[in-house]
Symmetry: C3
Subunit: 361 residues, 3 copies
Amino acid sequence: MPLEDRLTPPSTKPHTSVARVPNAWYVAAIASDLGRKPLPVTILGTPLVLFRTARGTPGALLDRCPHRNVPLSAGKVEGERLVCGYHGWAFDTDGRCQHIPGLVSQLDPDDRARRAPSWPAVEQDGFIWVWGSRDIAPTSPPFRFPELPGYTETRRTVKAPGTMHATIENALDVPHTSFLHGGLFRTAQKKNRITAVVRRYSDRAECEYIGEPRPTGLVARLLSPSGGVVTHFDRFFMPSIAQVEYRLGDDTHFVVTSACTPVTDFETLLFALVQFRTRLPGPLLKPLLEPFASRIFAQDAMMLGLQTDTIQRFGGEQFESTELDLLGPQIWRLMKDAERGHVESADSATVLYEKQIELLT
Amino acid sequence: MPLEDRLTPPSTKPHTSVARVPNAWYVAAIASDLGRKPLPVTILGTPLVLFRTARGTPGALLDRCPHRNVPLSAGKVEGERLVCGYHGWAFDTDGRCQHIPGLVSQLDPDDRARRAPSWPAVEQDGFIWVWGSRDIAPTSPPFRFPELPGYTETRRTVKAPGTMHATIENALDVPHTSFLHGGLFRTAQKKNRITAVVRRYSDRAECEYIGEPRPTGLVARLLSPSGGVVTHFDRFFMPSIAQVEYRLGDDTHFVVTSACTPVTDFETLLFALVQFRTRLPGPLLKPLLEPFASRIFAQDAMMLGLQTDTIQRFGGEQFESTELDLLGPQIWRLMKDAERGHVESADSATVLYEKQIELLT
Amino acid sequence: MPLEDRLTPPSTKPHTSVARVPNAWYVAAIASDLGRKPLPVTILGTPLVLFRTARGTPGALLDRCPHRNVPLSAGKVEGERLVCGYHGWAFDTDGRCQHIPGLVSQLDPDDRARRAPSWPAVEQDGFIWVWGSRDIAPTSPPFRFPELPGYTETRRTVKAPGTMHATIENALDVPHTSFLHGGLFRTAQKKNRITAVVRRYSDRAECEYIGEPRPTGLVARLLSPSGGVVTHFDRFFMPSIAQVEYRLGDDTHFVVTSACTPVTDFETLLFALVQFRTRLPGPLLKPLLEPFASRIFAQDAMMLGLQTDTIQRFGGEQFESTELDLLGPQIWRLMKDAERGHVESADSATVLYEKQIELLT
């Protein structure tokens, strides 16, 4: 009813970098956040309620009671069932209605109309994972986070106000670090000419940086005072995992693995696991690194928010890429092919695309 | 212009339990709230201004000055007229423009273009009532609240974030009281098998509960320590009145009558009058019962809000009823028939529908 | 996705008094507000970034980096360039991309895809002016504010929540002053019959008030204790300037010139210059007059906001004018003709329309 302003910014095609890949596991919550209280979450725009039964089994149902459409997340867990807070209808982890208080007539738990739609849910690596589709059963277990014995670990959850593609492109993008995080990690003075090799496989993409000198920023000098050879890989695993691996000489090894969850088209939750070992003892370094990590994550989230606001304001994206946008286009191709149901049948080891790019760093 | 998220919760038909019945009186305000200051209200989605002239007559006009479309509720009352705050155009309770400051030429108060649309308005039972239609004149006076001499009375206004149907169904629904208001009124242990008789007439519906024992909750035990026969009726009067009548033995008698006003499709104002007598003196009991009543009303409003949020999020309702939903379907039929202009011609005493339902309580 | 309420206020045509005139200069900012930090502004619904280079030249670009669509206003100025805060792309005042950090390949600043659209921008009379169109080059310099040596000046910026037409009509409307600003300036008792002469030219409109007595309000009595002849002109210059000129006898002369900027269809920025001389010394009078001016501007902005809310709520305007609406219809005709590209070819001195109206004041 309210009149919309007739805005006239330069017209932009309504395209956005949104690709929906439902046949995949996504992290729905940190396992320890799911206690006796049901937890409302949204995945791929669908409101779900997570709950954990008395035996500890996780369940994921549509967050809507079939009776009068109140959210089941306003209810409570009793034994193996989630009980609606309005009239007490009780559902098991398969969404079957097992009890309706006051009803004299016989109850059929398989009555479809009384059933709450359910999603596959499992607990793994400290997360509750939910399979994004009700139509196709899970074809594999969730992504396994690296096991790196002796490494120091820290976890972090970031609410990124951007598409899953923009969030992952940002997590794996090198050039922006000199500007957005300028001084913290890389500096704006670009003197070194290095080579990046981009490869796409049927289920992942990666970028290897060759000839990269030790970064000149504060943190890098702290970690590796004597310099040393840098090994640096940025990796994407379909459809939602971003991984940065960094070696500085023999002592320093960082792996940051982020599982991304598309909450809605323009909001992504990023569950990051940072694993590292350095010359310095991890427990000593961890409290020093955390403010640094917080700032990086906050700057990225801020920039993704500005990007999303601009895209929404103009009614679409108009991105102009250069060869420095190394992984973004490959990630987009994999996501979009999967959304269309078109997945290349090559085995996982076959390189489907490879390109070398010169850049200054 | 902003892009909408492409959400994909399970598709739901855009149906909602909204029935608009304009040919009826609705409570627009509590009479004592309408003083010298004009009062903006919304009924059936239409913004109105209520005002009371110097003589005390209530008026209801469209809340928009015909001149430059500012709300008349930003003006003031002068004598028998409501004067716009922008340029001083002055309207009587019929909406006729009686004065335009500065104008030299002759003013015709019956000039339609300068007239503010007006609605019938009367004061009765401590409320200002407005007739919901401009096209059809009132065919009867407003609903009369019960007169119960010697009873203790308390009034309460609740803003319910739900459709008028959902609000009335909630007000007359028994099964939810054990859950949503669990412990306060009824308890979740259901041991008693009772009978409910539902009847629909041409202009109302009712449910009579037969064989109901004294409720086991705290309040019931307080009011009727020795038990006694329960008489319990839930009644609906077209299109907006919900009434619960409860007798416990000879001493205790409660009548809660609620006049509902559809502010917009998903917001309802409920003006409740609670009338009771008990073994205990009313003035003593009233301050004890009020926190209890407040909690009940707040819990119901909260649940209606969650229901509305869920319905709007999914783009429609998908209700699955059982035989325990005693009055809701009958109320819906009466409302929807009236919206369509289809009213059964039977006299008011004829039972058009009757059904007995067994239930546990 | 969320269901909209089916509101049913009386149906209103979706017409609103919005006319978009892009081929004109608009004040984008106060010159002193544009320092080293880029400034986001919106003109005619288009998000722009204003910046000032090291040499002091103002630039106006679309507030969107062509690379990843983040707002350029989140960047910073380096020398003669505006540098994006995400990846460091650097643009000159013509919007040409002059540098992409890390890029090895040759950069062509005239590459259209990498260019940020730019708008003509100049600094004049203490304001940054931006030409509203990218398609047609400026055909004249911006409007010149009056130069009145020896006058006291005060500037004021008002955010008016109304269309540019409603804001200018309000600024040049006499009758509302008795009501909205009642007592401050004119009083509601209207005893004097005066004549107004309205004239429209090809590029402006004016209203001359003949026979107006000294206003009876407090301020007027303060300024001109002995009365005297009043000369009063209200003027509109296409498409965005409102001017009120007031003389009371020989001593008192007020000129209020307001440059309006259509931020969006329903939000207008008004940059006012008040110039005056009186019998009393200006520096002494200025602090006394400012609270008075503040109240006038705040009351007008409040009323424009109520008007806009009502128009949006009803889905359109339905204005009923009288002969007292002296300039509004002439302003609308000039604006609407210009929006349609239809401008009368008469020279600036030719009176295209003239009418005398009697009114009470």
